[in-house]
């Protein structure tokens, strides 16, 4: 064996399928996966089988190689390793160590009907479908070609989604539970029980809504000449964004609260009766972009029958839409879910393939369970249907389908940048690699990318560069093609009379193409960073800390700072490079950059304003200020960064081994709504993961240790402010002291948050008029004369509040302070409220927002679950200003302004609220002031916060 080894190893096998494992410390973007692929393409790689999945060092590690059918290696080779060659058509499957999946159960009312085929109510299938999928996906499997048992960490959130606005029941059945083969049955039993109780609530809310129309139906039995009868016209208040958008948004939202650095997926269990309403098509496009950019795979598990004409009225599953979304986001579509509980083979099953394994090919066809299993023959399958509809009456055979897909060249251009960077932008936009070929005798590489734009149209993108890839050769030839049905292409190229929707559709398509070219130009611009010193050479005034740009008041367009010598050509060249950078839209900047976010709340100024919680005589309130902390933070950023783009807003740090010749940069932008600050960071694409990880770690460390500057010693007794009880990771040198007893200079300026708190921050536009129920803020939208834009903003905010209020666990307490003749002054109540806020500060809470007397405080608590130690749960505590409950029926007086003055005969109340993430597990590692929180679940914590 020993002696023949050299010969065997020299024999190179052609790889058919390669399994690659991604490192868990930070997210391995599609981009890194693609550059790994291209750097290894067509090269010979030694492969040594691993004995275990632990201690993986590299970002991407080859775990298993299945050779081409013709190259069968002998057993020794398989055991001891061999060399293989990655070919353009090799299938590379990426696996992660950690996944987060949000299951959204679509409980829209169409599911409360009977499946005509089986005679079973569709709601009855929800939990069984979830069961099949979960048990399938959690069972460990042996990686093909190895003995390695692969069992990733799987964090699961389950949401029961209903578009019914009236149903304010918490929709989260479980958040962030690590599901394993061992606990899956318990987990499902818990889900079943919570699901049932959710359904009871939903049904009772629904039945209340029906009472009205039942009466009207009896009255309208007059016109019998019509066929439109038997259906009641409901005016059920549904969420304005009812349908698939809201459902996916909720999934997207829930994903952000799960452990980061994991592969994300949304899995929708639905009857398919979903769609996009006319008004929502723009929002749908935006959502798709968002999902694609954040690499979230959407999968659909369909319940119930597929289409038939006699289906329940209006319940037509929109299978093509679901398939399109799943394909476009690298997800999977299951037309039915097979039961694999009997399967003990430990081979990868369909659920593993669909939800865990990622490959570039996925974006082409998607993963369809029906396709993989020959179910497409059924006449109701869209493909079969469309072939039948379009069958030519005369011609027969495959070419007989009229209205074939045709392809048209749109544009070609030459980009002065590397193939890798072009691909990285495209991949982030959701394009996928269709095929790769090496042509011209190994001198040139051609990559074909595809983006499914709609069910019926695709954008194809060819990129050609010389091979092997050389980072110094900045030349890529690209070509854009449009592929679609004849009708569609005709529609976009010819100007015919069209309806509104069609016009916007065509416009959107052109905009998509246009933004494609713009993205390319910006890419070339950004990637040229290292090519010329004028881009990074700091002239003296900039190096001295004068910002390059400034933001004129009431404008969003930064202008060149006039403090510099504006005649200087070096400055102008410098500014012309950085101008597009300043203007980058952070919503989409991850196309060109690796983006990260650092979230924090600032320590507030002392002393707190007097009229924070009780109104001035004018009826106005003060707000929490964080000027000192903000100033300290700005100083830090100024010192740490290389130069300032806009003071207080945008900073740049140049990166690279050689400080004289930086190869990359870090752009920081702070989005501030003090006390909440989000620092958005973006690295130039191509910066290695390790460097990014290191740089960010450094910045975070600095922020975490940022203290207030020393000042004259203050008196110890009054207004001592806390510091983050749990957020300091460093072992405390000094004895732990309660937050309220800390010196000002001992306090941290910034309290870093792990979870995207800014996104789940509850903010009230106004004090609710009726404290006994959760108000829908959208009901105030139409009340006053506003511009369309204002209405849209309000509606979005109201919608966000509605989503949030159904996600977070909510508890509200109302205490009656004054009833009848007893007189209590406003000051006394103010005292109570400020004491209350001190208790919270002592417990480690921090101010997060304040608006017209409504104060919101946040705290992150560590949660522990059997397997999972690093759960974090965000607790929000809201105090309302003194509330007067009037004896008037609140529904009569809609005008809020009058409410304030009717104090005389009302009942004075103190109202507080707790909003808490429904994170699974029990609270641990609490500070001494919060010791009584230990071992409590989130619901119990909500109870605990009640006490004075």
């Amino acid at each position: 064996m020993e002696e023949k080894a050299p010969e065997d190893v020299s024999e190179v096998l052609r790889a058919r399928t390669v399994y690659v494992l991604m490192k868990e410390d930070y997210r391995i973007s599609r981009n890194i996966r693609a550059s790994w692929y291209f750097s290894n393409l067509d090269t010979v790689i030694p492969f040594v089988p691993r004995k275990s999945l632990d201690n993986i060092e590299d970002e991407l590690t080859v775990l298993s190689v299945l050779p081409h059918e013709d190259d069968v290696p002998d057993e020794n080779q398989l055991r001891d390793g061999f060399k293989f060659k990655l070919l353009p058509h090799s299938n590379i499957i990426f696996l992660a160590k950690r996944y987060r999946i949000v299951f959204v159960l679509d409980l829209s009312h169409s599911a409360a009907s009977v499946d005509l085929r089986t005679g079973e109510v569709i709601l009855n299938k929800v939990i069984p479908t979830l069961r099949r999928c979960l048990t399938g996906v959690v069972s460990p499997f042996i990686l093909p070609g190895t003995d390695l048992l692969y069992e990733p960490e799987l964090y699961v959130t389950v949401i029961a989604h209903t578009p019914l606005l009236k149903c304010t029941t918490n929709q989260v059945l479980a958040q962030g539970i690590r599901v394993l083969k061992g606990n899956v049955e318990d987990f499902l039993a818990m889900m079943k029980q919570r699901y049932d109780s959710f359904e009871q609530n939903l049904a009772s809310e629904f039945s209340k809504l029906q009472l009205q129309p039942m009466i009207t139906e009896d009255l309208t039995e007059v016109s019998d000449g019509e066929t439109v009868c038997g259906q009641h016209s409901f005016n059920i208040p549904m969420n304005p964004e009812a349908g698939i958008i809201n459902l996916l948004r909720q999934g997207y939202f829930a994903l952000q609260l799960l452990p980061e650095n994991s592969s994300a997926g949304i899995c929708v269990v639905t009857d398919g009766s979903l769609g996009v309403t006319v008004t929502d098509s723009n929002r749908f496009d935006a959502l798709m972009t968002q999902l694609r950019n954040s690499t979230i795979a959407c999968s659909f598990l369909k319940m119930g029958d597929t289409y038939c004409a006699r289906a329940q009225f209006g319940h037509i599953p929109h299978v093509e839409l679901l398939q399109f979304i799943s394909t476009a986001t690298f997800g999977a579509y299951f037309s039915s879910c097979p039961d694999l509980t009997k399967d003990t083979s430990q081979q990868p099953n369909v659920y593993h393939k669909a939800l865990l394994q990622w490959s570039f090919q996925r974006g082409l066809e998607g993963f369809r369970y029906d396709l993989a299993h020959g179910l497409q023959q059924t006449p109701v399958h869209p493909t079969a249907l469309i072939n039948k509809i379009l069958a030519h009456p005369i011609k027969v055979g495959p070419s007989s389908v009229v209205n074939p897909i045709i392809r048209k060249k749109h544009k070609d251009m030459k980009l002065n940048t590397t193939l890798n960077s072009v691909l990285s932008v495209r991949l982030r936009e959701g394009y996928t690699i269709k095929d790769v070929s090496i042509t011209k005798g190994g001198k040139q590489i051609e990559v074909r990318l595809v983006l499914p734009w709609r069910e019926y149209a695709k954008i194809e993108y060819y990129a050609t560069a010389s091979w092997p890839l050389d980072p110094s050769k900045r030349q890529t030839q690209v070509e854009i093609m449009i592929e679609g049905s004849y009708d569609f292409l005709h529609d976009i190229t010819c100007s015919t009379r069209r309806g509104v929707l069609r016009t916007t559709n065509v416009k959107n398509f052109w905009m998509a193409l246009q933004s494609l070219c713009q993205a390319d130009q910006l890419l070339v611009h950004l990637q040229s960073f290292g090519s010329s010193p004028v881009h990074y050479k700091l002239i003296s005034s900039i190096a001295n800390g004068i910002p390059v740009f400034f933001l004129p008041p009431s404008s969003y367009n930064p202008e060149l700072n006039s403090q510099h010598n504006t005649k200087d050509t070096a400055l102008n060249q410098f500014a012309s490079f950085w101008n597009p950078v300043v203007n980058l839209d952070i919503k989409i900047w991850q196309k060109w950059m690796h983006s990260h976010r650092i979230e924090m709340v600032l320590e507030h100024d002392v002393p707190l304003p007097k009229c924070l919680q009780i109104p001035h005589t004018t009826g106005r309130f003060n707000i929490v200020q964080c000027r000192q902390a903000f100033a300290t933070l700005t100083t830090l950023l100024r010192e740490w960064s290389s130069f300032i783009l806009i003071e207080g807003l945008s900073y740049v740090k140049l990166l690279g081994k050689d400080p004289e010749k930086p190869t990359s940069f870090l752009l920081m932008r702070s989005i501030s709504k003090p006390p909440c600050i989000v620092l958005r960071c973006a690295f130039l694409a191509g910066t290695s993961g390790r460097n990014r990880y290191k740089t960010l770690g450094e910045l975070k460390e600095k922020l975490r240790n940022l203290k207030f500057p020393h000042r004259a010693p203050q008196k110890v007794d009054s207004n001592k402010r806390p510091r983050a009880g749990q957020s300091d990771a460093k072992p405390a040198v000094i004895e732990h002291r309660p937050p309220l007893q800390l010196e000002r200079s001992e306090k941290n300026c910034c309290i870093l948050l792990t979870k995207p708190v800014e996104q789940i921050l509850i903010s009230y536009e106004r004090k609710p008029s009726d404290m006994t129920e959760l108000e829908d803020p959208s009901k105030y939208i139409k009340s006053h004369s506003m511009t369309d834009q204002q209405i849209v903003t309000k509606a979005t905010r109201a919608n966000a509040f509605n989503t949030l209020s159904r996600y977070l666990h909510h508890q509200r307490w109302i205490w009656s302070v004054k009833r009848g003749k007893v007189d209590i002054s406003m000051q006394a109540i103010g005292k109570i409220l400020s004491t209350l806020s001190k208790i919270r500060l002592q417990e480690g809470f921090h101010f997060a927002s304040s608006n017209s007397g409504i104060v919101n405080m946040v705290l992150e608590v560590n949660m522990k679950e059997d397997q999972n130690e690093d759960g974090i749960c965000v607790v929000q505590y809201i105090m309302f200003p003194p509330h007067v409950k009037t004896t008037l029926d609140s529904s009569i007086s809609e005008d809020m302004d009058e409410m304030e003055t009717t104090e005389a005969d009302g009942e004075l109340q103190i109202v507080t609220e707790c909003w808490i993430e429904p994170q699974h597990g029990i609270s641990v590692q609490n500070s001494p002031e919060r010791q009584h929180w230990d071992n409590r679940t989130y619901k119990e914590i909500a109870q605990t916060v009640r006490f004075f």
Partner: protein, 575 residues
């Protein structure tokens, strides 16, 4: 009362205390007169002689009067509660002239355990039964199966969720018991009282009533599970003003299968009204589609798909769905060159209700006058109002035509083309054509048929032209299907001298078999109407055109595609 209306709806349960007929609607007072018979039979309902029992009591059974007399409660209960083995599948029982359609369902015993202590009567299985006339068509029965399956499924689900059936059954049983305990003279029928007390009973009544009235059911069982159902036989006979049109799901299915992208869709109901009545959680795509149809009536499906930003197959599914539910019909997109004719089955009585309706919608017009314009096949642009160049009048005309189409008062004629070189050897072809025209009351344009005597010149030129033809490979195929004589004749036509014309003609030849109308040819070959007309004009010597109402299928002349169905099935909803 039509044939497919239900006679009655029944609810039967079977459990620890035997079978019970809990609810029946409508109330048959006559049944009381047979109570004596029923009572005497009660003792031996379990005996093997049950079949005989039915026979003996069957004489008073009558469905003609719309009653369900002759069956006592006990017999019905016994008859309709089935053994567990038969549960979970369709139940179809025919007794004399009645048919019992149900879907017996076994209840989940595990859920019962918890409550076993409290409920005296435990239900093991239940059966909701529609009583129909025995003569009813199988397709109607299948539809009722759908409805009963939905109701049963919904009730079973609600039972497992909230013990709905148990609770409702308890109400019904207690009413039954109360009434039974009353003295004989005060005894009245329990079912009226049950309706006031039990929501399930009300739902069953609603189901019965709405099938009977409209053929459409929409209700929420226990205010939660939605049940929607449509009896196409009923819905479609209502939607057309035409009398005696037989529509069954197969016809609709065939019509749906014949859908092509060039078809248009015409709503049979008011669009806005339809939008308003859509179920709360109806797929948004349907909403979109209807909106597009309202804004741009009578466009082709292809255009609708683009307008609604939906894929074609989705549009097809939605349109088929609307057609099935009687909300829409398939037409050819409205254009001025369309030819319309008075529908032979339309109601043309002067003072009919429909005429009044028409006048209300179009004041100053008369239905009879408008219809008279279409006594002969008439092109839309040839009608009085269209010739009048006033836009307002024209618009009104279009909406009138739409209205007439919606009500099935007129229908469109399509032009079909036959290739018929006037040769002696063409006998078989002629045969088929004549049979074709017989069945379809053709308005064939006789003037188009010119019999030219075959001339002797063709032999000399023939070889030359056929060589040239070889240049166009696909056309050779077409030519080869013709006889030598036919080929020669055609090549010799003066029009054939123009190679472009000849090429187009040969390309279109396969369509000239009476199976494909103008619009279809235009769609598949991407031609304009004038192009096609010009060509037909040039080759009129060998072509016959006829205008008929569109047929679904017809034997092919060129043999390659087998005829699917040679009967000329006229579908009213189809035009």
């Amino acid at each position: 009362m039509t044939d497919f209306d239900p006679v009655s709806i029944l609810l039967v349960t079977s459990g620890t205390r035997g079978e019970r007929l809990l609810f029946q609607y409508p109330n048959f007072e006559t049944a009381r007169t047979h109570q004596d018979i029923a009572k005497s039979k009660r003792r031996n309902v379990y005996s093997v002689r049950i079949a005989e029992d039915v026979v003996t009591v069957s004489s008073p059974v009558s469905s003609n009067t719309g009653t369900l007399s002759g069956f006592s409660k006990a017999i019905l209960a016994n008859l309709l509660s089935v053994k567990p083995a038969l549960c979970g599948q369709p139940f179809d029982l025919k007794v004399d002239d009645l048919r019992f359609i149900g879907f017996p369902m076994l209840l989940d015993q595990s859920t019962k355990q918890q409550t076993s202590g409290k409920i005296s009567h435990q239900i093991g299985s239940f059966n909701i039964v529609f009583v129909l006339k025995a003569s009813v068509d199988q397709s109607v029965i299948n539809c009722y199966f759908d409805l009963v399956k939905q109701l049963t499924g919904a009730i079973k689900y609600e039972e497992s969720r909230r013990q709905y059936l148990s609770a409702e059954a308890k109400i019904m049983i207690s009413i039954h018991d109360d009434i039974a305990s009353l003295p004989e003279d005060q005894m009245h029928f329990p079912y009226d009282l049950i309706q006031t007390k039990s929501s399930l009973a009300r739902d069953l009544r609603t189901a019965y009533e709405s099938v009977k009235d409209k053929g459409v059911v929409h209700l929420y069982v226990n205010k939660w599970i939605e049940v929607t159902f449509c009896l196409p036989h009923k819905v479609h006979s209502k939607s057309s003003a035409a009398l005696s049109v037989k529509v069954n799901p197969e016809v609709i299915q065939r019509c749906i299968e014949a859908l092509r992208p060039y078809h248009g869709v015409l709503l049979l109901v008011d669009g806005q009204n339809l939008l308003d009545t859509l179920s709360t959680d109806c797929t948004p795509a349907l909403n979109r589609l209807i909106n597009v149809i309202i804004q741009q009536p009578v466009r082709s499906l292809q255009i609708i798909a683009l307008e609604a930003d939906l894929s074609l197959s989705q549009v097809f599914q939605l349109v088929s769905h609307l057609v099935y539910w009687g909300k829409a019909t398939i037409v050819y997109p409205l254009c001025e060159s369309n030819v319309y004719l008075l529908s032979p089955s339309s109601n043309i009585k002067m003072n009919s209700k429909i005429a009044e309706e028409f006048v209300q919608l179009f004041p100053g017009r008369s239905l009879a006058v408008e219809l008279s314009e279409f006594s002969y096949p008439t092109k839309l642009w040839d009608t009085q109002d269209m010739l009048n160049k006033q836009q307002k009048q024209q618009e009104e005309k279009v909406s009138m035509v739409v209205w007439l189409l919606q009500h099935g008062l007129i229908h469109q004629l399509h032009t079909y083309v036959f290739l018929m070189p006037p040769l002696k050897s063409r006998l078989c072809v002629e045969d088929r054509t004549s049979s074709f025209s017989d069945v379809t009351s053709v308005n064939s344009d006789e003037s188009q048929i010119h019999y030219q005597s075959p001339s002797s010149e063709l032999a000399s030129d023939g070889s030359f032209i056929s060589e040239e033809i070889k240049g166009f490979m696909p056309m050779e195929d077409t030519m080869s299907k013709l006889t030598r004589e036919e080929q020669d004749y055609m090549l010799n036509l003066s029009a054939a001298k123009n190679t472009d014309d000849l090429r187009l003609f040969l390309r279109l030849c396969p369509y000239f078999n009476g199976l494909h109308h103008f619009e279809e040819i235009m769609f598949y070959e991407d031609l304009t109407r004038s192009q096609l007309l010009t060509l037909l004009d040039k080759f009129q010597d060998v072509l016959i055109t006829c205008q008929i109402k569109k047929k679904r299928s017809c034997p092919t002349m060129y043999g390659k595609r087998p005829a699917r169905n040679s009967s000329y099935n006229y579908v009213q909803i189809k035009t």
